[in-house]
């Protein structure tokens, strides 16, 4: 009698283990009608909030007979990690993070819309010094392994220095403004809105390098899980339609829409407009197509891939920078063709440009 109780107990345990295992397991490949896309606060992604709140996303989702929810996540990296773990069908992230987080994690991802690139939104600040070359020997506060780190590497390259010439100190992006006020901090790489906050409040702060000197290298994009996309092209169609509907408003300078986005990102209209000035938005679908099809994109991704490999963030067991394959419009590829995990496509922006959505 005792042993049967034990067996029963064991069976129960095994069952609950199985249930647990299955419940944290997600299934990508299936035709679905409900989707979740995660986004975080950033100048180039505020249009998504507007589109969701004003029912533009719903309108386009309804047109294709699906439901889409744009979920705001407070922590940018957490948002990407949740997407990588299978919690979201799509996510907003930069090109570098798309390569090093989902793609390096084996999740095949597709960049459906490249909405903008940083054109001054990221920058290197020196305290009391005016030339980037003076950074030699200094400690640089930045979010390690982020686009800031990449920008620093590009900046150093431009004045004939390398990362060995400085010391990198990992500092949380939320604490940059406070950190700048301390005595030990002399050099910093960060992004907006912190960047402009520091520059406008500290006469000692000099912007010595920014992303406008590396145009098109820090790209903000909508990424969708490739399998989900394959089974549900409607998702990409609806999202692209909604996106360019908002772009149309922004291009016209619609005060109501811009004020809404400014407020949601915690600034005012003037502050938001100045952030937009350092962001190269693709208001026209045709510009987005041109950017996706450009010769520059594969070159940029090669640089990003090499930087990521040098810093060990292409994933373990990556023998070289070409370990993760990438695919670009027109059949161009980079790296291992047998391990393509990041795809850039122009399919849907092209449809938008041709008015076929």
């Amino acid at each position: 009698m005792k042993s049967s109780t034990v067996t029963k107990l064991f069976k129960k345990m095994a069952l609950s283990v199985l249930v647990l295992g299955l419940s944290i397991n997600s299934s990508y490949a299936e035709v679905k009608d409900k989707f979740q896309v995660s986004w975080t606060i950033y100048v180039g992604w505020m249009p998504w909030d507007y589109a969701q709140q004003k029912g533009i996303v719903d309108k386009w989702a309804k047109k294709y007979g699906i439901e889409i929810e744009m979920v705001q996540v407070n922590d940018y990296i957490e948002s990407i990690n949740q997407y990588t773990a299978g919690k979201f069908d799509g996510c907003l992230m930069t090109n570098m993070d798309a390569l090093t987080i989902p793609a390096a994690g084996g999740v095949d991802s597709t960049a459906v819309i490249m909405g903008d690139y940083s054109n001054g939104n990221d920058g290197i600040i020196l305290k009391d010094k005016k030339n980037l070359a003076d950074i030699k020997g200094q400690t640089v506060n930045l979010v390690e392994l982020s686009v800031s780190h990449y920008l620093l590497a590009r900046g150093l390259e431009s004045v004939g220095l390398s990362e060995k010439d400085v010391k990198v100190l990992n500092t949380s992006d939320a604490d940059m403004v406070a950190a700048y006020g301390t005595k030990d901090v002399t050099a910093m790489t960060t992004w907006n809105p912190q960047l402009s906050e520091i520059l406008s409040n500290n006469p000692s702060a000099n912007l010595v390098f920014d992303s406008s000197k590396t145009p098109g290298e820090i790209i903000d994009m909508l990424v969708i899980n490739t399998e989900t996309l394959k089974d549900n092209p409607k998702l990409a169609k609806a999202l692209t339609g909604a996106w360019f509907e908002v772009m149309e408003l922004m291009k016209k300078g619609d005060e109501e829409a811009l004020t809404f986005m400014a407020k949601a990102s915690g600034t005012d209209l003037a502050g938001y407009k100045s952030q937009l000035d350092s962001t190269m938005m693709f208001y026209e679908p045709s510009d987005a197509v041109k950017f996706a099809d450009s010769e520059e994109l594969p070159k940029t991704m090669k640089k990003v891939s090499e930087f990521s490999f040098d810093h060990g963030i292409l994933g373990e067991g990556a023998p070289d920078a070409e370990f993760i394959g990438m695919e670009f419009p027109g059949g161009k590829t980079f790296g291992d063709k047998g391990n393509i995990k990041l795809r850039f496509i122009d399919t849907y922006v092209k449809m938008a440009a041709e008015g076929k959505l």
Binding site: V17, G21, A85, V168, N170
Partner: protein, 273 residues
């Protein structure tokens, strides 16, 4: 008739049923990880035991390509230095403040409300102020631990001092003790093992502040590494680090407890061990 409440496990049985939950957690992990890996062999959320072992080998037994140092050792040493210094300063500071607070009514009346209020300030919320005051170097990290932990120990010790039976204090006075000698001969010996107990209880809090401080700004440390690799979801590094931190914390607790009971034999009289 034997009641359940009176049945006691033998030492061997106690060991086995004590290990059971650990084994169960590992088993559940392995199954869940297998399920996820079957779908995506490169999944990073629940890495296989194999890749965890590989990551440990890489972090703890292989020299880093970039600096030539063993990252795991370097991280552990710098974290333990910060934690040790922070806890030591907190303990000394707390002892020095708690005795007058608990023992001298005038000091208590003057400072007790302030200490009680100060202990409620969440250090993480006033972090920018701490940065400006202590800078962003080692000092700030140790200071965060001290500010977070000291008030807790002070309040605990003050309470314990006030619980010393009045009879003892009166007796000591009839024997001719001054406030100073009674502090040294009656209060201090009784309070010291309680200080060690208080330190044990606040170690968990101290770790929280250490990890938070390292997450905010650092170039090495256990918390730093976790927050750095979190950026690309390297759970194969994070999980062993978490296990290691837990093990270290458990070890300190165990050592302090046994040191305490060994040195102050009267202290654990009648306690279940």
């Amino acid at each position: 008739m034997k009641r359940l409440m009176n049945l006691r496990p033998s030492k061997a049985t106690a060991l086995i049923i004590g290990l059971l939950p650990f084994i169960l957690v590992v088993l559940i992990y392995i199954v869940a990880s297998d399920v996820r890996l079957a779908e995506n062999p490169n999944d990073k959320l629940l890495p296989s035991m194999n890749s965890i072992v590989e990551a440990v080998d890489r972090m703890a037994f292989t020299e880093s390509k970039r600096t030539g140092e063993i990252l795991f050792v370097e991280d552990t040493v710098s974290s333990l230095e910060r934690l040790g210094l922070g806890v030591l300063i907190s303990a000394v500071l707390a002892l020095l403040m708690a005795i007058p607070l608990g023992f001298v009514p005038f000091v208590r009346a003057g400072l007790s409300p302030f200490v009680a209020a100060f202990s409620m300030v969440p250090p993480m919320a006033i972090l920018p102020i701490l940065f400006i005051v202590f800078g962003m170097g080692e000092m700030a990290k140790v200071a965060l631990i001290v500010i977070g932990v000291t008030p807790l120990i002070i309040r605990d010790l003050q309470q314990r001092i006030m619980e010393i039976p009045t009879e003892q204090l009166i007796k000591a006075q009839t024997l001719g003790g001054s406030s100073w000698t009674i502090t040294l001969r009656v209060v201090l010996p009784q309070i010291f093992p309680r200080l060690l107990d208080a330190v044990r209880l606040t170690l968990g809090t101290a770790w929280i502040f250490l990890i938070s401080a390292e997450a905010i700004s650092a170039t090495e440390g256990l918390g730093y590494r976790i927050f750095l690799v979190r950026r690309y979801l390297s759970m194969d590094v994070i999980l062993p680090y978490v296990v290691w931190i837990t093990l270290l914390a458990f070890l300190f607790d165990y050592l302090l407890k046994h040191f305490n009971y060994r040195v102050f034999k009267w202290y654990d009289a009648g306690k279940e061990r």
